[in-house]
Every structure is written in structure tokens, then in C-alpha cells.
Amino acid sequence: MDKYNARFVLQSIRPDGSDAGDPEFAEALDAARIDPELGSRFAAEQELDRVISSKLASVPVPGGLCESILAGVEVSRSMGRRRFLQGLALAASVTLLATIGAVWWSNARRAVSFASYRQEMVARLDGRIQFSVTSREADELRQWLAQSRGIAGVEIPAGLKQAPCIGCRTWVWNDRPAGLICFLLEDGKAVHLLVISREAVPNPPHPAAPQVLHVGNWETASWTNGENVYVLAGQLHREALEKLL
């Protein structure tokens, strides 16, 4: 093995010394022992590799990432494995449609209505949901939505006030922030409360009586309360969803 090839092979040796017995490296290591220039280069490279490994291992990981992963998978499991896979496929379709829609948007104005808001936001629930914040406490999530995204005055429906939360996040719809708070029911199913400012959607639902409608894979209830418009979505029977209002 010439010096050039030996140097090439030596680059694959890990710096912790655990490859010393690997027969694939024996010839190159022998060459490094015989040739002082090659040997000193190899030693310097190994030392540098050790330092690089240790520096990279010290790069911090975002706080809350682990909890976000666990919470997200919990939501998926509550939807059921089969439903989740269908959801992923549907999410891919939604992504494709969204891309096509984005192109179309550059040439034509999108129809903006409460119905289109509900349709679009509920479709997002079919895909994976990554939370910005995870907490079991609704008050913490309401506070985050108000302080970080300006979605204030969120009222939790009576039937969900005792339910533990999973997390929350926001999307942008029609250039306005739309919030999502996810709750975990006793039977392990998740329900999602979507909230957006009343000013952001034309013809919002009537305050007096929630509109209940099946949209895609979800049973939904929609209503207006104060300055906000709400959509509650769950994969439940209509009666079960109505009990949460």
C-alpha cells in the first residue's frame, strides 16, 4: 500500500481507538508506523477528530423537543394506527393540493369564507401535528397563545374544562394567526379546539347555537363567542362531541 492510499484508508479510522484491531486497517496502520510523516499526520488527524466529535456532541438540543415528540405520537395513537396512516396519505394529498393552490393563488384570489377556513384547518388535523408548546394545563396554553401569537380571550368549552391538554400551536390562515389547543379525553381520543379572531373570517357561525357538521374525517362543531370563532373537531359520534360544548 503506498502512502497516498494509506492516508486515504486511515481517514476512516475512528478516533477513540476502537478500530485498532480491524484487519481492514492493518496495512495502513503499519504504513503509518513505518513512515514518520504519515504517522504524525495520522496522529494529528485523530486528535482533531476527537476534538470535533466532542465539540459537536456539545451542541444544545431545543428544550421541549422530546416532550413535543411524545405528545405528537400520543395524538397519532389516539387516532388509531390505521387512521394515522390514512391521515399521512391524506396529509400528503393536502400538501400537494396546497402546493397547487399556492400557484393558483398567485393568479386568482382565494375564496375566503368561514366554510373554507373550517375545511382547510380541519384538513390539517389529518396530518401530524407538531406542537409549539406542550402542557396539560389549558391556562398555560391560553396564556402562550395570547402572549406569543396575540390570540386572546380563548374560552374553553364547558365539557373540556376538566380534560387534560396535550399541547398547542398556531397556523396562519388568510394572513391571521389561527390557534389550536389539543385535549386528551378519558378514552384516549384527542379533540382539537381551533380558534381564530372573528374579524379574520367573513360570515362566522351564529353565537347562539353551534353548527355541527361532518367535515372530512372529523365531526365538527363551530360557534362564535366574544371576539373569537371556534371549531371543535374530534373523531367522535356527534352526540359525544355535543356533550363537550
Partner: protein
């Protein structure tokens, strides 16, 4: 407060999420995209991979899946398939360790993120996961010779980028020093 999920899965996430995130960050070069890649990988585990109970198999599965997802997202698979196996370029200078020791981990990561994509994944597995070239080949699903070539060329690139990083740092220091010296003369 985190939601309670089954202990085996939670343990798996807690064990692997940090190294997976660093690997994802080195590939995607964006914190949000890296977080998404890690989350997507664990979702796929929850739906497809959880039958693997052997810890080493789980680690390898997660890394391979994350890399596949990255390639799928970027649609770079064809570009990656045509890299030739060649030896490393001969570099004249010995690598300098001391300047890198002074660097912050983020600066080293920033240099790694500038390495060509095709070399970055094997380098990240080598440095972050301490993998052998054979394990890297298995994880990235490329021939062993290709991995050795990519490691050699990638290391050369990384060392060059670390030198550039160090030169820039030195220049920043030199730019500050005359101002400090001038202030000292005025006040001294």
C-alpha cells in the same frame, strides 16, 4: 408537563432524540426542519418500526429512516447516487487542533453544515454517532468504498472550513484590538 405514553417508547425517544436531532440539523441546516425530521422519524417508528426491540437495531433503523426522509424531502436521491469512489486530495499542511479547541460547538457545527451534502451525512454519523465506516455504509445504504471516499473528502473540506472559520475569528479579533489600544492610549 409531558403527556404519558408507554414506557418503552418514551425510553426510546429519550435515548435517541438528541443525537437524532444533531444528525438532522447537520443535514437540514435548519432547526425547525431538523425538529420536523426527528418528529417524523419517531412517527414512522410508532407506525412501522416498533417491532424492533434490539437497541442497536433501533438506533440504526432511526438513523436510516431519518436520512431517507431527508433525501425524500430534498429530492436529492439521484444526485447522491452518482458519486465516484476516489481517493482523498493530498493536502500539504498538517491539521491544527488548537484553534478548533477554542471554538464553540455551534461554530464547529456551522462548518460541518457547509460541507457538501453528499459528504455531510457520513461525516455526521462518524463524528456524532461514532459509527464505523461499515455501519455508516449500512445506515446510508451506500457501498463501503463510497463511504471511505466521502469520509476522506468530507474531512478535507471540513478542515478547510474550520481554518476559514478560525481566520475569520482572528480577523474579528484583530479588528477590535486597534480600537481597544487606541482607547487605552487616550485614557491611559
Amino acid at each position: 408537563m409531558p403527556v404519558v405514553v408507554d414506557t418503552v417508547f418514551e425510553q426510546l425517544v429519550r435515548t435517541h432524540y438528541a443525537p437524532l436531532y444533531r444528525f438532522a440539523l447537520s443535514l437540514a441546516r435548519d432547526e425547525v426542519a431538523a425538529g420536523d425530521l426527528v418528529q417524523q422519524t419517531f412517527y414512522l417508528w410508532a407506525t412501522k418500526g416498533e417491532q424492533l426491540r434490539e437497541p442497536r437495531a433501533a438506533r440504526s433503523w432511526l438513523l436510516t429512516t431519518l436520512h431517507r426522509e431527508f433525501l425524500r424531502d430534498c429530492r436529492h436521491a439521484q444526485r447522491f447516487a452518482h458519486v465516484e469512489v476516489t481517493a482523498a486530495d493530498e493536502s500539504e499542511e498538517l491539521p491544527h487542533v488548537a484553534p478548533v479547541e477554542q471554538m464553540d460547538g455551534r461554530a464547529v457545527l456551522a462548518a460541518l453544515m457547509q460541507v457538501d451534502e453528499v459528504f455531510r451525512a457520513p461525516l455526521a454519523l462518524y463524528y456524532l454517532e461514532g459509527m464505523t465506516y461499515k455501519d455508516i455504509a449500512e445506515t446510508l445504504e451506500v457501498p463501503i468504498g463510497t463511504v471511505m471516499s466521502r469520509l476522506a473528502r468530507g474531512k478535507d473540506q471540513l478542515r478547510h472550513l474550520l481554518c476559514v472559520e478560525e481566520d475569520e475569528r482572528r480577523q474579528r479579533v484583530m479588528a477590535v484590538r486597534p480600537r481597544v489600544a487606541a482607547r487605552e492610549r487616550v485614557h491611559g
